[in-house]
């Protein structure tokens, strides 16, 4: 199934001390919406251009199409709803994860069967349970989000600016005072850092005691 979505450019940061940027967002836009949701992310220690997650029983994969001016353009496509056919897991999900597909004992998998019988037994795969409270704003015509998230129970905040127009994202960044030295961190990269699947850079969310 291919959804007809125009891929958006995205700039995202993670941290526990983002209040200065949050204050600027709130000064520029009313809070338009707050949503709460749970997602399950599938991760590997390997460098991939895919963001594989399950939300409300539906698996979707975002593919990193390109990077431009420090922004990332992600193209989403829906894989399908659980119970998911083993053939789809084999031909779509595992290639996206870059991991060799196992032998499947069932024709279809519920989400819990998929996690317990396919994912957790694979030494190359890790699961991140992510609970999100997402607050929506609009800055420079861009969808702008401030979210409190829990990653396997540990909390961190994320701020994201996204638009189909890369120029508008750059304009929003400028309005919010986010310089070119600030790293663009996608969800998979942040989760991999928290879970120790990839090294922490010096600049990663240092706690200012």
């Amino acid at each position: 199934m291919i959804a007809s979505v125009i891929p958006r450019y995205e700039f995202r940061i993670f941290g526990n001390a983002l209040s200065k940027i949050e204050e600027k967002i709130m000064a520029l836009s009313p809070r338009e919406k707050t949503r709460q949701m749970d997602s399950v992310y599938l991760l590997t220690p390997f460098k991939r251009r895919n963001n594989v997650k399950i939300r409300e029983g539906i698996m979707d994969i975002k593919v990193l199409e390109q990077e431009h001016a420090g922004l990332q353009q992600w193209n989403p496509f829906l894989v399908g709803e659980f119970p998911l056919e083993a053939d789809v897991i084999k031909t779509v999900v595992f290639p996206a994860l870059g991991v060799e597909s196992p032998v499947f004992e069932r024709e279809k998998y519920t989400l819990s069967q998929f996690i317990a019988e396919v994912i957790t037994i694979d030494p190359d795969l890790a699961v991140a349970y992510v609970w999100k409270t997402r607050h929506a704003y609009t800055v420079a015509d861009c969808i702008t989000e401030v979210a409190e998230i829990k990653v396997n129970g540990a909390t961190i905040k994320t701020i994201c600016i996204e638009s189909e127009d890369a120029g508008k994202v750059l304009e929003a960044k400028k309005l919010l005072g986010i310089g070119s030295n600030v790293e663009n961190v996608s969800y998979p990269l942040a989760l991999k850092r928290i879970m120790g699947l990839t090294s922490l850079p010096e600049s990663w969310n240092n706690i200012d005691f």
């Binding site: 129970g153 909390t155 928290i194 120790g196 922490l200």
Partner: protein, 213 residues
């Protein structure tokens, strides 16, 4: 038998410990502040950055490195849901290959990596960990507040595990009954005893279990 009076910062018999981790432990922390007797100023607030070494297979040895020093504690016993841990080894970097071979890597319960140098600096040791498929070095930053409730040493802390925040609360003492009473006084009754090793493994996805809230 007269029980030993615990003093913060002094060496005692091996202590039992209740500790838990969650996202919202503030109510228990508030009760801790109100029920505590005055404590020495040096434990009012402490901050530190540590590196824990974890593996999927090991749940009984807790290895951490702070200020270039390695400290391994081993699980001794559980009594009424409380855990007792004893020091297994303490070492300082640079550390000899003999100590790594005979004490440190056996504690991780993983395959021994090749060790072809006589001694290893902290950076060299962490490079071995990074390249070992079964081991994970986790950065843990702590902001801890010390208290004394019902004759037990208590602490509330904010802990950043690879940058993500969890809260922790604990009570420790040589006396099991004192800890059990403290747990009730703080409103922590029924909560799971989760030690550092468990919490880190849960947040990093090595163990598929939740924290207490």
């Amino acid at each position: 038998m007269t029980k030993e009076k615990l003093k913060i910062g002094e060496i005692s018999k091996p202590r039992f410990e209740f500790r838990t981790f969650g996202r919202d432990l503030e109510e228990a922390a508030y009760r801790m502040t109100r029920l505590s007797v005055p404590v020495p100023e040096k434990v009012w607030e402490r901050t530190s950055e540590e590196t824990y070494i974890v593996s999927k297979t090991n749940n009984i040895n807790n290895t951490k490195i702070r200020d270039g020093k390695m400290d391994i504690k081993t699980f001794v016993q559980e009594v009424d849901g409380l855990e007792q841990w004893n020091p297994l080894m303490k070492g300082e970097f640079p550390i000899s290959a003999t100590v790594l071979r005979e004490e440190v890597f056996p504690a991780f319960q993983v395959e021994m990596p090749p060790l072809d140098k006589e001694e290893y600096s902290l950076e060299e040791f962490l490079a071995i960990i990074k390249n070992h498929p079964e081991l994970l070095a986790v950065t843990v930053e702590k902001e801890r507040y010390g208290y004394m409730v019902n004759d037990t040493i208590c602490e509330y802390g904010m802990v950043w595990i690879n940058g993500a925040l969890v809260e922790t609360i604990n009570s420790e003492s040589t006396e099991v009954e004192d800890i059990k009473k403290t747990i009730e006084m703080l409103g922590l009754g029924g909560m799971e005893n989760i030690n550092y090793l468990q919490a880190i493994k849960r947040v990093t996805g090595m163990i598929d279990k939740k924290l207490v809230n």
